[in-house]
Each structure stands twice: as C-alpha cells, then as structure tokens.
Subunit: 491 residues, 2 copies
C-alpha cells in the first residue's frame, strides 16, 4: 500500500500541475489534440490489433472495428465540444437602468480537474486507455490518469505511448495523460487521493460499487460514474413470435454468442408467454445455439466467473438447459448455454437476475400477459430493455412498454441491444445497478458533462470574460441567449 500510495501521489501531483496548463486550451485546441490521437491510433492499427489479439483472444475484425470506433469517439466528442454543445453556455444580459440594476450573467462548463479512468476488460480499445471515458475527460479539459487493465496490459502500454507522443507533440505537460499499473491498492489510493476530482469506470457491479463508496465517503466527495452492466431483458410478444420466430431466433442467438457474449449489452434474459409461437421460437433457436462455436474468453478470471455464475443459475431446481453448444471446448473456451425457467420460479429467485457475463441467456416463460408484466415490474435497473412485437402486439402492450421505459436507459424495438451506436442521442447508463448515476451516459458526447461543472460570470466586462462567453462569439459556439439557441453571433 505504501508504494502504491507513493506512486499515485506523484501521479496526481503531476496531473494537477498539468491541469493548470491543459485547462487553458480552447475547445478547438483540445479538438486538435483528440484528432491527432485518433489519427495516430489508426496509423498504428496493425500493430495495436495484433497485440490486443494475443492478449484478449478477440477476433481480428472485431478489434479492427473497435479501434475505428475508438478514433470515431475521439473525433465526434471533440466536434461536439468545439461547436460549444458540451459547454452548456447560457447568457442572460443585464440592465443597468433597471432599479435595482439587473446583473449580467453568463455561464459555461469548465473542467473538474484530474480524472481517473478504470477501463473495461472487454473493450481493450473503445473503453480502455484511449476509450470513451478518456475521450470525454480530455475533451472536457481534464487531465487523465488511466489505471491500466491488467488483462491487456501490453495493449494499454502501446496505446498510452501513442497518446503521450501526441500530447508531447503539442508541447503540453507529459502528465496531461498518464497511465499507471497496479492492483486493488493502487485503485484505492487513486480514488481516495484529495487531488482527484472524478472517476469513470466500466466493469463489474462489485468493482463499481467499491469505487463509488470510496468516492462518496471522502472528506470532499467526488462523482464516480460506474457503468456496471446489466442483463438487458428482451420481451418477445405473441404475434411477433408466431410470425417472425426464425428471424428473432437468429438475431438473438448471434447477439448472445458473439465474441463469447462478453458485452454489457448482451441479452441475458428473454421473456415470452407460453404459446405455439414460443414453441416454434424454441425449435428455431435450439439448433442455432447447438451449432454455436465456443470461443476463448478474455482471460482466466472472466472464464472462472462465467463458469461459477452459470452454474449458480443452472443448479437451481427450477432452471433447465434449453440448448447448448455441441462442440467440445478447450482451455478458456466458453460453452454456449440457453437456459429456461418459469416466470413463477424467476420471480421467487431474484438472484436469477444477476449478470452471467458470457454466452448465456435465460428464457423466462410466462403463463399470461399479467405474469409478463409482473416480471417486467420486478426487474432491476438495466442499460437496455428490448421488445419484439408487431403493431398489433404493441397496441395491446402499452402498459408493459411503460414499465420497460422506467427500467432502462435505452429501449429497443425489434432489435438486439448489442451494437451500441456511438451518437449524441445514445444513452448508455440506466437506473442502478446498471450504473451509479442514471443522469449521465458513458457513450456519446453528452458523457463529457460527467467531468465538467458550470461557472457563472456576473458583471464581468467582455474583455475579461473567457472567449466562449464574449459578445462577438469569437469561437462561433452554440449558446443559449435569453432562452434562444443562437450561433454564431449575439446581436
């Protein structure tokens, strides 16, 4: 602990010092840096993908796509910043002739300070060293300390070196971005350090809650945004099942099995009403799962958790195996499983809602609509909920849809929850335990807001205001002036 604490202390002192320089950059300057990082990552794609392949066992095309997505995030988040949208600028001019005079107010978001990023195991690029949280924090004007994920440490080192080279090309202090390595002690020292101002995390409920508790029990609490996954329930409505059973089974089986089901948006629970349509759906999905090819999981820890969590579910007397992959598995390869239970059993066994991270899904069979609604009502907070339904199904399911909207950050119609589009309108983060603060998102440019706070300037003359707030709008930003969005000039 002593050593962890010393190196963390050094990192934060350097980060705080770098912050005083980095925060002064204009949105456009920050954009230039993020673009440079995006370009450099793409230039190094071959080498990065090959390192990550060895460490994570993820397929090459997936890693290539993920790296592109990482660059896309860096570019689009910094576009959002440079257009002013991340700054939430509000301007209300004053009046000196009024009695009493009305003060002139102008408000914009500024960076919180040094941010710690705990990347995810399953996204070595898009949610790790140069991933979404880093992109948001750097766009916000914060300095960043990444705690490297031990399961892909070489990938992390290579990406970190690329970022640090870009930072240095812009003549910024090295410590604008740092990556440190270490275990539990290092994480604890980081989150408890007085100079740290916020935390971004992607990972397990247990890990996220620990960071959240540390952050909130500090003498000066800091926001901890932890995205902790979910079971992403999918509701299969009767007419849709009966008519589209094969297409639905195909989409769902791909979504469950892809990359060994190692996605926080993997559909972990399917809910349907007993019917002929459901029987047809089962007949369709059973062979699709059987034909599924087991893939190597990310690392031993993930594999062991998968085996344990799967077995915790499957050994319950009310849970059966509907289908499983027929290929023999080698080391670290995950057998694919579709389990089945009744709504009654599901409702009386809340632990069946625990996430089983890997190629596993549980079909919950209801007797009727009422039971289906009960299942919906008993769900914990989720990243996503999905519904497969025809227009007739949906017309009769209004109250179910209402419940599902309440439970999640994103609700999907006739599609699967995996394949998270990176866009401002994305919401990735739902009610707890999906994440620690459902008011924010970890995907999309609005995630920048997690790391900023507003400062209001009262009665400052134009020349002493930050350019973002000056009358002529020299940076050409979107600004809300007397409740009207204007760009680029105030009359």
């Amino acid at each position: 602990m002593e050593t962890a604490s010393n190196s963390v202390n050094l990192a934060l002192e350097k980060s705080q010092e770098a912050f005083s320089a980095y925060r002064k950059l204009s949105p456009t300057q920050r954009k230039d840096i993020l673009y440079a990082i995006a370009d450099a990552l793409e230039d190094a794609a071959n080498s990065l993908v090959s390192i990550a392949q060895k460490e994570t066992h993820l397929p090459k095309p997936r890693l290539e796509g993920e790296l592109k997505r990482t660059s896309y995030q860096l570019r689009t988040y910094s576009n959002f910043l440079a257009s002013g949208l991340a700054l939430d600028i509000r301007i209300n001019p004053g009046s000196t002739t009024n009695e009493p005079p009305i003060p002139a107010l102008a408000k914009m978001n500024v960076a919180l300070g040094p941010v710690a990023v705990f990347g995810s195991g399953n996204f070595p690029f898009a949610y790790s060293t140069a991933g979404g949280d880093t992109a948001c924090a750097l766009a916000a004007g914060c300095t960043v300390i990444v705690k490297a994920h031990p399961a892909h440490i070489e990938t992390g080192r290579a990406v970190s070196e690329i970022i640090r080279k870009c930072i240095s090309n812009f003549n910024l202090p090295d410590a604008t971005f740092q990556q440190i390595e270490g275990g539990f002690d290092t994480g604890e020292a980081l989150v408890k350090h007085p100079l740290l101002k916020a935390v971004g995390f992607t990972g397990s409920l247990k890990g996220g809650r620990q960071l959240f508790d540390w952050g909130n029990s500090r003498e000066i609490p800091i926001p901890v945004f932890a995205e902790m996954g979910s079971v992403n329930p999918v509701f299969l409505l009767p007419e849709s099942l009966s008519k589209e059973f094969y297409g639905i089974a195909e989409k769902l089986s791909v979504s469950i099995m892809q990359d060994a089901g190692q996605f926080c948006t993997k559909p972990g629970i399917l809910v349907a009403i007993a019917s002929e349509g459901l029987e047809k759906f089962k007949k369709a999905i059973i062979p699709l799962i059987q034909k599924g090819v087991p893939q190597k999981m990310l690392h031993e820890g993930i594999f062991e958790n998968f085996e344990r969590n799967k077995s915790n579910a499957l050994t319950q007397r009310g849970v059966g195996r509907l289908s499983y992959s027929q290929t023999d598995v080698s080391e670290l390869e995950a057998e694919i499983i579709m389990a089945e239970t009744s709504a009654t059993f599901f409702l009386s066994h809340p632990d069946l809602q625990d996430e089983v991270f890997g190629p596993y899904s549980l079909l919950v069979v209801c007797q009727n609509e009422k039971e289906m609604k009960l299942v919906a009502r008993n769900l914990e907070g989720q990243l996503t909920t999905s519904v497969f339904g025809t227009s007739i199904d949906l017309n009769t399911a209004a109250s179910l849809l209402d419940i599902l909207k309440e439970k999640c950050g994103r609700t999907i119609l006739n599609g699967v929850p995996t394949g998270v589009r990176v866009a401002t309108s994305m919401q990735h983060g739902g009610p707890y335990p999906a994440c620690t603060d459902s008011r924010f998102s970890s995907v999309g440019a609005d995630g920048i807001r997690r790391f900023m706070r507003p400062v209001c300037f009262q009665n400052w003359p134009d020349e002493l205001l930050p350019p973002e707030l000056q009358k002529a709008n020299p940076l050409k930003l979107w600004r809300l002036v007397d409740e009207i969005w204007v760009k680029p000039d105030i009359k």
Copy 2:
C-alpha cells in the same frame, strides 16, 4: 422511529402511485399547473406574508419580494420546460440502406420519480414548500414530498394547502404533492426509503452531509443535491480600495447586515492587502457597521449557532473586533460584527473558514499580493467569489482571478454576492462543501436536470414515440437534431 417510518412509508407509496399519473402529463400541462400555483401564491400574498412575518421575523418587504420571486421561479422554470430546453432532446436519424443498418436514436429526459425536498430556514417561500427544489421537481415530472421546516411550520402549511388545492383543481392525485412534518427520524426514514428517487436540500453542511451519506449508502443509491452555504470571499484589490473605498464599504456593509446576514451568499470573508487604501476602507466601514441596526434572527437555534460560531472565531488570539453595532440587543437580536485577522493567522487556522451564519464578516489582511494568492489558494469550495478591482487592478491580477474561478460556482466583479438573480445562466452551487455536486445548480431552470435522466428510443416508429420525439415536433420543442439546434420542425 416506528411512527416516523410508518407515515413516511405511506407518503412514499402514495407518491409512487401519483407518479404514474403525473409523469404522463405533457410539458405544457405541467407548466399550466406550475403557473396555477404561482398565481394562487400571489393571490394569497397578504395572508402568507403575515404568517411568515410572525414565524421568521423577516421584514415585510423582504417577504413580499421573496413570494414574488417564488412565483417567478415557478413560471420561468416551467417556461424552460415547455420550450423543451429541460429535456435535452437529441435526435440522430438512422439508415436502413447502410450495411449494417444504422439504428435511429432519439433521447429525452424523463422524471426520476418521487423527490424529497428539505427546505431552508432562511427562505420560507423561495427555498421551502413551493420553492426552487419543488418547482424543479414538479417541472421535471416528479412527485414531491416536502419535509416541512420546523421553524416556519405555519407558513409551510398554508403554502402546502395552496399547492394541494391547485393539484386537485387539475384532477391529479392528491399525493402529487405532499408535505410531512417531523424530526430527524422522519428525514432519515424519507431518504432511506426504497421508493424515493432523489433529494433536494438547502441548509447546513452537517445536515446536508448527513442526507448525502444516507442517500449514497443505500442499497440503491440516489442523488442528493445539498446546497450547504459558504463564506463567499470578497477580494478587495488595491487601486479599487484606494479610489472607491466608500462605495465598496457601503455595498459590503449592506450585504453583510441585510436581514441579519442570514443568506448563504453573505460575504463572510473580505481579503485585502495592507495599504493606505485599506485604512481608508476600514475608516469608512467601521461607522457603517456601528450604525447597523440589529435584527431578530429567524429562530433560537439559528441565534444560538450564530453566537457560538461567532465566539469560536472571536476568542482566537489572532482575531480582533474591527467594528460592531452600537445598539443594545433584545431577545434573538444579532449584534453585527466585523472582525479582523492577519493572513498568516488565517492560513494557520482553517476553522476561520467555517461559515458564521448571521451578520458577521472577517477581514483578512495580507502583506502582499503573494499572500493574497495564498489565501485564495487555501479557500474551500464556495458558492461565490467576488472581486472589487479597477481595470488596472484586474490587469495585474490574472492569476488571482484564475484561482478564484476554480473555487466557486459564480464569480462577481465589483458587486456583492447577495441578491441572487433567478435566471438560466445563474449557477448556485460550487465545489464541496458549498454543495454536494458542483455539476448542478439549485437556482435557475437548469436545476430541473437534477431530477431527470435521459431515455433513448432505438428504432421506434414515430407513432409509438413520445410526442416530444415525434418527427413533426407537435409540442414545438427545442431539439438537437444531428448536432444542430432546431425549432420547431424537423425537415
């Protein structure tokens, strides 16, 4: 505790039930209700002000102004809502021709659920029963449970009755708004209740931190926004002091003494460099404080805290009395005090930064600019920082101004921090301990965001989307479509 817990449980069950109806109202319908409450409060002004006068000892014109401000908040926050600005709508159309298809996404803020409001003692109208937090929560679509402030219970009851009558006129469930009475146990039961979704609080650091800790240690944590006051340091720069000493002394003495200094934005610390100008300023402010008329404080608890906190500061050997009011004081009347200390003593006694709520301010005398910056750097988080300076002063004070911006939510030039303008561009909430989450404000319509979270709709057909997100924009809302703000129609 048993009784508190039972009544809180009943209140929350009713609140949750009412929420399922209230949340379905359109922004315009919510606006109509908030306007009706604003009108009803103004209609009852004479009676309300007279009840509040008896309970709080605040002067009639102040209470009349505060009631107008309360109605103004209700109206302007609901305007902000009805124009769509509180909904943070983001729309990114999809593409079915792309390979793979790009999903269509549309996102908007929705209400969190039942919100508890703990109003303030010093604002019986504007930050209590029908105050800012209630206005934000009702605008957001949340149901509200106010824990009545014991120091103005009759005012609270009268206001509550007016709100409930309005709610009932709109045929909404009574429990859309509830007020409960009780002590510590009631507060604890409320914040720990599983159905509660968020907390708004205005009051002391001790009280706010307690609620924050309860909220975060729940099995399912909830956001607790506590505005806990600050000492609002005012920096007096040399040329300004030397030229404008009298005007500054007048403004500051009024700001310190007004309504017995019972404002969370009262300037509690003045910082200046020893100089002739400072001597002139002292000579000017001494008689202004001496002539100050002691006023009755809100209640015995506040008075006793004031006496104790003031005495904690004044009994330290490095703190002297610069000036105090000369009129004898009767029961609950607060003697007005201006104290003085050196920067050296101030820097080595951090407890001198503790808020002394009442007509008290501490002048901190620095030897030079460097010491002044050291004082600035050692300040805790503040709601506001203020600077009095000429343009020459400000030209040489850039690094001081930078430090001050970092410490606060609002920074004021050549003015006092009291007199908080209600506007979207206001920021009321700064780094801890000023409030528990500096990313939000408790004054201004952006405060609505504290009680909402985004939900994203993926691939839903237009007719199944909420009207807020439908293509034709039937509610005529501001919406960010592909990163462009548009109103009222999407092409």
